[in-house]
Symmetry: C2
Subunit: 214 residues, 2 copies
DNA sequence: AAGCAACCATACCGTCCGGTCGGTTACCGG
DNA sequence: CCGGTAACCGACCGGACGGTATGGTTGCTT
C-alpha cells in the first residue's frame, strides 16, 4: 500500500470533496444536490453520511480543503521566489510572474474560487463559516501584505501607498478577474490583469529610490 | 394617479424584483425560494405566476433589470463627468471619483453585483442567459474602454497599454472588491481599490506626454 | 481466525419547493 | 351598468431533496 493513497476512507472522502468542488463552482452550492455529487463519484448516501454530518458540514469541509490547498500552493511559490531573489521587489515580481505562468498554462478558464462562491451564497451559512471564509481571504491578503511591507521598507514609492492596500488590490483583481474569465470563457484574462498589477508596481517603484531613515 | 407609480401590476412586479434581488444577493438564487420572496413582498403564488413564467424567467428579469439600472447610472455619471471636463483624462478621473463618492456615502457594504452572482451560479441557467450576462459585463467594460481610448489617443502612456486591458481592470477591481467588501463587512474597500486604480492611471499619464502622430 | 471497527449500500421518510389551477376581486372602456 | 381583462388569491400536486435507519462488507488488529 502506497502511503500517498492513505486509507480507503480518506480516498473516497477526498473524491467526494473534489467532485463536489467542481460541481459547486459551476452551479453553486445550493443548486448542487447530494444525489448529484454521489452519482458523479459513484458512491451512495451511506458513504456520504459516514464522512460528513450533513450538507452544511460538507460546505465547511470544502472551504477548509480549499484553504489548505491554496495556502500550500502559495507558500511553495513564495519560497521559490525568495530563493531566487534576495531583493523583496524582485521576489514579489517573480511570485506574480510564476502565478501568471500557472494560469497561462491552462487552456480553459479556472473553475473559480471557493471563497468567492461561499461569500456569494453566504446568507445560507452560519456565522462561524462566514467568519472562517473572511479569515481565509484575510490570510491570503496578509501573505501578500508581508511581501509589500518588505518592499516598502526598502524602497520609497512614487506615490504614498500602504502595503495592505496593495495586498487587497491583487486579491481583488484575481477574484474579479476570475469572474470575468469565467463569464467570457477567456482563460488568460486573470494573467493579463495580474500583469497590469505588475505594471502598477513597476511604476510605483520605477527608480528604486532607497528609503531614507527619518 | 401619479405617472411615476405606473400601473398597479408594474408596481407589484417591481416590488417582487427588488426584494428578490436583495434576497438573491445575500443567499444566492437557488437558495432563495419563491415562497420566501412572496412572504417578503406580501403577495402570493398567483401574483408571481401572473408576472413571471417561472423561476427561470425571474432570473432573466432580474438580470435585465439590473442591466438597465446599471447602464442608466453610468450613463448619468459619464455625462456629468464629460460636461465638467473637456480633457478625456480629467473626465475619466472625475468619473471614478464620483463613483467612489457614491460608495463612500453608504455605511453598509454594497449588497453585491447581480452579474457576478449569476456568473457564479451560471451552471443552472441556460446558455442564452449566460450569454446575456457576459454581454452585460462586456458592455460595462466597453463603456470604460471608450473613455480610455480617448485618453490614449491624446496622451502617450509611460508603459505600453491597451484601453481594453484598463477597462477590464477596473471592472475586475470592482467585482473583486465587492467580494472582499462583503466578506469583510468593510463598506469602503471598493472605493479604496478604485483609488488605487486612479493611482495607476495617474502614474501611466503622469507627465501628460502628448501623443506624436506617426 | 476471530472480532471489531471503519466503511459503504439501500430502502425509506418528512418536508419543502416549483408549478398548476379554478376562482375572486379591481379596474376600465363603452 | 355591463362586459371583459388585468391582477391577484390560495389550495393543491408531484417530485426532488436532505436526512435516517438498518444491514451488509471490507480490512485492520491481536
Amino acid at each position: 500500500m502506497v502511503a500517498s493513497m492513505a486509507t480507503k476512507g480518506e480516498r473516497t472522502r477526498e473524491k467526494m470533496l473534489a467532485t463536489a468542488e467542481t460541481l459547486v463552482l459551476s452551479k453553486g452550492f445550493a443548486a448542487t444536490s447530494l444525489d448529484e455529487i454521489l452519482r458523479a463519484t459513484g458512491s451512495t448516501k451511506g458513504a456520504f453520511f459516514h464522512h460528513f454530518k450533513g450538507k452544511a458540514d460538507l460546505a465547511q469541509a470544502l472551504v477548509e480543503r480549499y484553504r489548505r490547498n491554496h495556502a500550500k500552493l502559495f507558500e511553495r511559490l513564495v519560497a521559490e521566489a525568495e530563493a531566487k531573489h534576495a531583493d523583496p521587489l524582485d521576489a514579489t515580481m517573480h511570485l506574480l510572474k510564476r502565478f501568471e505562468a500557472l494560469i497561462q498554462a491552462q487552456s480553459k478558464p479556472l473553475p473559480g474560487c471557493v471563497f468567492a462562491a461561499a461569500t456569494h451564497e453566504g446568507g445560507q451559512f452560519d456565522t462561524t463559516l462566514r467568519d472562517r471564509i473572511a479569515d481565509s481571504l484575510r490570510r491570503w491578503a496578509a501573505l501578500y501584505e508581508g511581501k509589500f511591507d518588505a518592499v516598502l521598507s526598502r524602497y520609497e514609492p512614487s506615490l504614498p501607498i500602504a502595503a495592505k492596500e496593495l495586498a487587497e488590490m491583487i486579491v481583488a483583481i484575481i477574484e474579479g478577474g476570475l469572474i470575468l474569465s469565467r463569464s467570457y470563457g477567456d482563460a488568460h484574462l486573470v494573467a493579463r490583469q495580474s500583469r497590469q498589477f505588475r505594471n502598477y508596481l513597476s511604476l510605483l517603484f520605477a527608480d528604486r529610490q532607497p528609503r531614507i531613515a527619518a
